[in-house]
Symmetry: C2
Subunit: 361 residues, 2 copies
Amino acid sequence: MRKTFFTPGPAQMYPGLQDHVQQAFEDYIPSISHRSKQFEHIHRHTVEALRAVMGFPLDFQVFFHSSATEIWERLLQNCVFLESFHFVNGAFSERFFDIACQLNLGPYKQEVSWGEGFNFLNEEVPATVEMLNFTHNETSTGVMTPVESVYSFKDSHPDAIITLDTVSSAPYVQVDWGKVDAVYFSVQKCFGLPAGLGVLILSSRAIQRSNIIADSGTSTGSYHSFQAQEAKALKHQTPETPNVLGIYLLGKVCEDLAEGGIGRLRWDTNGKAALMYDFFEKHDRFEPFVQDRSVRSRTVLVMDVAEGSHGLLSYLGEKGLILGDGYGKMKGQQIRIANFPAISMEQVEELLAAIQAFDKG
Amino acid sequence: MRKTFFTPGPAQMYPGLQDHVQQAFEDYIPSISHRSKQFEHIHRHTVEALRAVMGFPLDFQVFFHSSATEIWERLLQNCVFLESFHFVNGAFSERFFDIACQLNLGPYKQEVSWGEGFNFLNEEVPATVEMLNFTHNETSTGVMTPVESVYSFKDSHPDAIITLDTVSSAPYVQVDWGKVDAVYFSVQKCFGLPAGLGVLILSSRAIQRSNIIADSGTSTGSYHSFQAQEAKALKHQTPETPNVLGIYLLGKVCEDLAEGGIGRLRWDTNGKAALMYDFFEKHDRFEPFVQDRSVRSRTVLVMDVAEGSHGLLSYLGEKGLILGDGYGKMKGQQIRIANFPAISMEQVEELLAAIQAFDKG
């Protein structure tokens, strides 16, 4: 049966991806040495294609990790002696905070209820915090934090490293690179790739911070310390044998995304999101979980479902339309719909028609 | 041009792998949730297929990492308060030692020259060491350490965790699971898979050691601490979104390997190795780098090349036969040939014929 994955990660594969995989095998990409000129060329191409899509300046570097989860650990090891600050409004921002605890750091958090945005009061965040961590798009709740409120911390906390989790919003999110130090995502969300690759786009300032920590004698990790990663990245290599195929495929998908135009991608995303929110707001069965429209995600839509979501998810699943269930404690009460670039307007219309048929059935 | 990769990792893809990849895409494996029953089934299947190949008992668990390099870091974080002991005879055993230094531990090493085996004197290893690290097959030098000398430390150092690097020798290596606590490899070597997955097979004793360290308040890492990994592995899941496609493909290749028979695999490996060593010993141009036959690797063959290796490597490369160069300081002076399961006797014969043609040319 043909299936369409509206799940927010792993998600629908990017159109044409299988052709890229086949080409990779024909060109022996999985067999080439990660110390060869050919790999350096792939690395360079992927970084440049990603730059074309995300628009980061030349003094930002790209470090490849195995997951966004790994990136949380590496950011904490490399940029924090003691105090990180976490804005927590869902399961994933909470997990970043938890990792700081597990590493025996002394993290702060400001927490709001699931589905709500923050009332950012910069003056309430201690001036001593070394790293400020924002989640642009909470995949568990569908809250999208306006980037302007993140950027305001650049002035109020000029010494802090500012990180932005764009796991389920890059490359839709438009980043002001003068206001942040670390932006990261994993490829199985909006980039429509197989899981197993996390991408960290990092300012030279964040690397300098890591160097200060390393110079003090505190460990910044080993093979994935920013020192070890930078030394190799400057040669278009990685410290370890990386997910070569994943890096190659990310370059191909970024090429496709850049060709389609990033403005067009944002326009399409907004259009599909508007259609879906409009549909669900008019239906008695559904209510958007995020009440405040100004923080409603365009890339991960979360709806409360009267009478629960399991019947609907099963019905749609039988038609090959795979949606996300509510996350964690919201399981069975919500649906989560990924509005990623791999999903077309036609597929959205097919989904909404199927939901209408379920309502009538 | 058709190419055959005799490189010791990344290496020749396992025969039929591309069909498995295509099947995976047809079954939407890259899109499925890592919290679904379908993923749990894949995880369970891969662990069981790997057990069929490697023969580890039920009280050993399998933890999936992104590389063997990551596994070095995780073993040190989870099993060592201070003192690890490293037997160093090449670039990779040295790197494991380096990682212990980078983590601010106090590692010991016993070092021999590249190409030489150890003269194991158990009584010279302090009784206090917490972890003893052996490299079964040094990919950089082609030295294969007899497992019996590793096993002897189980009696002389009963409290130490014993780890065995089988990165370029599993599943050829025959492990006595009563004598070791951790055996690990990465899939881009003998398993003929795309890079991006490291596999750690771990005893319950090693997990208990990690629990002692965690209970003392020392950090054992975060999402990949053995506590976090065990909690998920018992449910056939992983803490983070893993390389789902890699785990799936490893299961398929293990199925194929088990079907062919592991005894047959060892027999074939020995046969191909014998043919190659015989050929190179008789040729004036070549000399096996490892003088002592009892420690010569059957899976990674390293030859000194009179007048240097670059001309030969270029000549063979033009014929689609890709060999490894000497590693690090031996670059240009040696060739390294992977004798992995994906390489057939016919391909070995083709290689040797091409080398003969070069000699005559």
